[in-house]
């Protein structure tokens, strides 16, 4: 029997790895990939909770699944837009290095 906490820890670990990548990586596309990792961690979390607390009378199983669906959709949309932005910024500045996108400096 796998306790719920294991799944949660896995999700947490993946989230933290993704966070580290988002904060650290130079390449904008790499940052995007790290964000995907974070979102996936969230999904694992949600599904785990859904599975383990399914029988709880207060829980609505379809609600959890709907939530996960929304997360998927949001992730997809965000990737699309993010890549479009990267392409556009690349065109403007000829770089995808996050460090060099510092228009908000000062």
């Amino acid at each position: 029997m796998i306790p719920l906490s294991w799944y949660v820890i896995v999700a947490v670990a993946m989230f933290c790895i993704g966070l580290f990548g988002a904060l650290t990586r130079k390449n904008a596309v790499a940052i995007l990939m790290s964000v995907e990792l974070m979102l996936n961690a969230v999904n694992i979390n949600l599904i785990a909770f859904w599975r383990y607390l399914y029988a709880d009378p207060a829980a609505d199983p379809t609600r959890a699944l709907a939530f996960v669906a929304i997360v998927f959709v949001a992730a997809a949309a965000e990737v699309a837009v993010g890549l479009a932005l990267i392409i556009s910024a690349y065109r403007q500045r000829n770089t995808v290095v996050a460090e060099e996108l510092d228009l908000m400096k000062g």
Partner: protein, 723 residues
């Protein structure tokens, strides 16, 4: 409009005329004098209407024609002011209206309306001629007064003051009118303000009458305190309260208040010792002298005395000894009459003689009141107003004619000096005849002059009241009066001209001579309304209307015995002194030639110098009052207190404050407050500069910070709120 409302409107036209002239018509001479004349004329009309309305009323004294309004709220009651016409008011209105109107008309001519503007005339100095062509050769003619409109404005204001005083039914508005007249007197005496003598005379007049006014105010205050009102009806009805002993000098309240009010009269009517201002007041133009110092303002003092006579005589009946106040009045009145008459003997200025004559005649009236002869005093007031106004206007006419002669000949003589006149009878006939009538009235020429009737009544009143001293004093004064009057007429009009100016004097225009004629008519006929019943032969033919009408004011029987004089002595006395004095005067002076010394100089010897210099009273007052006052003002107040003490104190305060301000500024304001502000600004800028380093523009760095903070925060919260 009810007739009562008309009373309010009597003082109003002159006041409106004053404002109209001051505000609007100052530049236009004709408009100014028309406005002033309209004001005086309307007031005259209203006065005549009221007068003829009330003389037929029964019992007017008890039920005067009156209106009143509430004016000031004083606690539970109102201070009421209003107008009332009782017999005294009615006769006063009559003579005031006529004399004021005549003087207004006269002033148009006196100030040379229609003449060209002077060559070197300045406002503030009397006009002295303009060059013109007359009969082909160049002569200097009289020029128009530069301050023409101002004069009419001031006499209109003055007329307002007098009318207010006369129609008021309470002592408060009377006092207001009194003070307005005092102000106008000051302004008009000092009319030619560029002359130092005129300025000094104006100040002297104001201050001297002020002394009287102070005591008058005390009397008013006491009256208000005792009786709670200033209305005549209220005052004279509170006999019980007023008859209480005041504890001061052993007099009753009535007596004390009457004495205080009498001091006010002494000031205004120039009785000894406050007489010194009136002769100097002759510095003003002659219409002013006529109006203020003959007909109206000095009469106001007597009017006041007549008004408070019930206070002075409270508790007195004819036949009783006089009350204290009445004694004072009789003494001062008769003394003044004699005193002024003696001074008038030795004066050479035509107006000064008349000034002292006025003082003397006012003394008569006061003395009459002092012995209880109320009707006689009122009668003399009426007749004196007419003939004195006539005499003054006549003297003005003489001066005017002399000035014309002075300008014509270029001679430098004082046009007012009688010793330079003479022979004007043929040069100025109308003036001569009217002046003669006035002079005879003043002397008391029997039967045909008003002065005779009124003087006779006063002498009878004194005699029949048993007041020997008063009687003899007044009789002697009457002798002197006749003497100096005839002296004046002889020197001025009779004989031969004593100077070239007198030779070239001419009669004046109708604007000036018409008022003389009108006033002369009154000077003759005004006496016939008061012929006493007991008079031999003529008594009873004409009713003694005056005594009946005005006698209502005092509820005693007409004094001195209306139904027949006790004795014929007063009548004989007055005839003797009048005719004798006139004859002696003519006799002494008819041969007075040029450059001669006065005929009285040798007989009187040293006394003559005293008379000439008015008993040196001015010098005495100067030493006692004026010099110390000047010292206090100039040295004590100004130098010591004002400059050294007060200014020094203020300067010291200023220095301290300055020092303090400087210390605060440099010690506190600049370093601390400015510093704080600067530190704040600079500090903020530095901090901002430093913090700018945080804004790298790199999102990842922002996020690291954000995550760190979130972690810390959550840890903190969990630590706080767990378990």
């Amino acid at each position: 409009m009810a007739i009562e409302t008309l009373i309010w409107l009597i003082p109003l036209p002159p006041l409106l005329a004053f404002f109209a002239i001051v505000l609007f018509t100052r530049q236009n001479r004709a408009l100014s004098h028309w406005v002033a004349l309209a004001g005086a004329g309307l007031a005259w009309l209203a006065s005549m209407l009221i007068f003829f309305q009330v003389i037929g009323s029964e019992d007017l004294a008890k039920h005067p024609l009156a209106t009143a309004i509430n004016w000031l709220p004083t606690g539970k009651t109102w201070l009421q002011v209003g107008a009332a016409v009782d017999p005294l008011t009615a006769v006063t209105l009559f003579f005031v209206a006529w004399t004021v109107l005549m003087i207004f008309i006269y002033s148009i001519g006196y100030h040379n309306y229609g003449q060209p503007k002077g060559d070197h005339d300045h406002a503030g100095l009397p006009p002295h001629g303009a060059a013109a062509k007359e009969h082909g050769h160049r002569v200097t003619v009289m020029s128009v007064e530069p301050m023409y409109s101002r004069f009419f404005a001031l006499i209109s204001l003055f007329a307002f003051g007098m009318y207010t005083l006369v129609v008021s039914n309470n002592l408060l508005t009377l006092f207001i009118g009194w003070e307005i007249m005092g102000l106008c007197s000051y302004l008009l005496i000092g009319f030619w303000y560029a002359r130092p003598s005129a300025r000094d005379a104006a100040v002297k007049a104001f201050l001297t009458t002020r002394v009287g006014d102070v005591f008058m105010l005390l009397g008013l205050a006491a009256l208000y305190k005792i009786t709670g009102s200033l209305n005549y009806s209220d005052i004279f009805g509170s006999t019980t309260v007023l008859m209480q002993n005041s504890g001061i000098l052993g007099m009753t309240w009535a007596g004390l208040i009457a004495l205080l009010l009498f001091i006010g009269t002494m000031g205004k009517s120039a009785q000894f010792p406050l007489h010194v201002w009136l002769p100097d007041a002759m510095e003003g133009p002659t219409p002013v002298s006529a109006m203020i110092h003959a007909a109206t303002m000095v009469s106001a003092g007597i009017y006041l005395a007549l008004r408070f006579f019930p206070l002075a005589a409270m508790g007195w009946e004819p036949g009783m000894p006089l009350t204290a106040t009445m004694t004072v009045m009789a003494t001062i009145g008769s003394f003044t009459a004699l005193f002024a008459a003696t001074i008038a003997l030795a004066q050479n200025d035509i107006k000064k003689v008349l000034a002292y004559s006025t003082i003397s005649q006012l003394g008569y009236m006061i003395a009459a009141l002092g012995v209880g002869a109320y009707v006689a005093a009122a009668f003399h007031l009426l007749t004196h107003a007419f003939f004195k106004a006539l005499l003054f206007l006549g003297s003005g006419s003489v001066i005017h004619g002399m000035e014309h002669g002075v300008l014509h000949t270029g001679e430098h003589v004082d046009p007012q000096d009688m010793t330079q006149m003479g022979g004007l009878k043929s040069k100025m006939p109308v003036t001569f005849w009217t002046f003669l009538i006035g002079g005879l009235a003043l002397s008391g020429f029997p039967l045909v002059t008003a002065g005779f009737w009124s003087k006779d009544e006063i002498l009878s009143g004194a005699f029949n009241g048993g007041q020997w001293v008063v009687f003899i004093t007044l009789a002697v004064s009457a002798l002197l009066t006749a003497f100096y009057t005839m002296r004046q007429i002889t020197l001025t009009f009779l004989g031969a001209p004593r100077s070239k100016a007198a030779e070239h004097a001419t009669e004046n225009k109708w604007v000036m001579t018409l008022p003389l004629v009108v006033l002369a008519v009154f000077a003759v006929s005004a006496g016939w309304v008061g012929i006493p019943k007991g008079f031999p032969l003529l008594g009873g033919i004409l009713p003694d209307w005056f005594a009946e009408f005005v006698g209502q004011m005092v509820r005693t029987a007409p004094e001195g015995g209306g139904e027949g004089h006790g004795s014929i002595v007063p009548l004989i006395t007055s005839l003797v002194v009048a005719l004798g004095g006139l004859y002696l005067g003519w006799l002494t002076y008819r041969k007075f030639g040029r450059g001669q010394s006065d005929a009285l100089e040798k007989p009187l010897g040293a006394l003559y110098a005293w008379l000439r210099n008015k008993y040196y009273f001015d010098e005495l007052y100067a030493m006692i009052f004026v010099k110390p006052a000047r010292w206090v003002a100039e040295t004590f107040s100004y130098q010591w207190i004002d400059r050294k003490l007060i200014d020094g104190f203020l300067n010291g305060v200023a220095r301290i404050v300055w020092w303090l301000g400087e210390r605060l500024r440099n010690g506190f304001d600049l370093p601390v407050i400015n510093g704080a502000g600067d530190v704040t600004a600079e500090g903020t800028r530095e901090m901002g500069h430093w913090m700018k380093g945080m804004q790298t523009g790199r999102v990842q760095q922002y996020m690291v910070v954000a995550i760190s903070v979130v972690v810390v925060l959550i840890a903190f919260l969990i630590y706080r709120y767990s378990g």
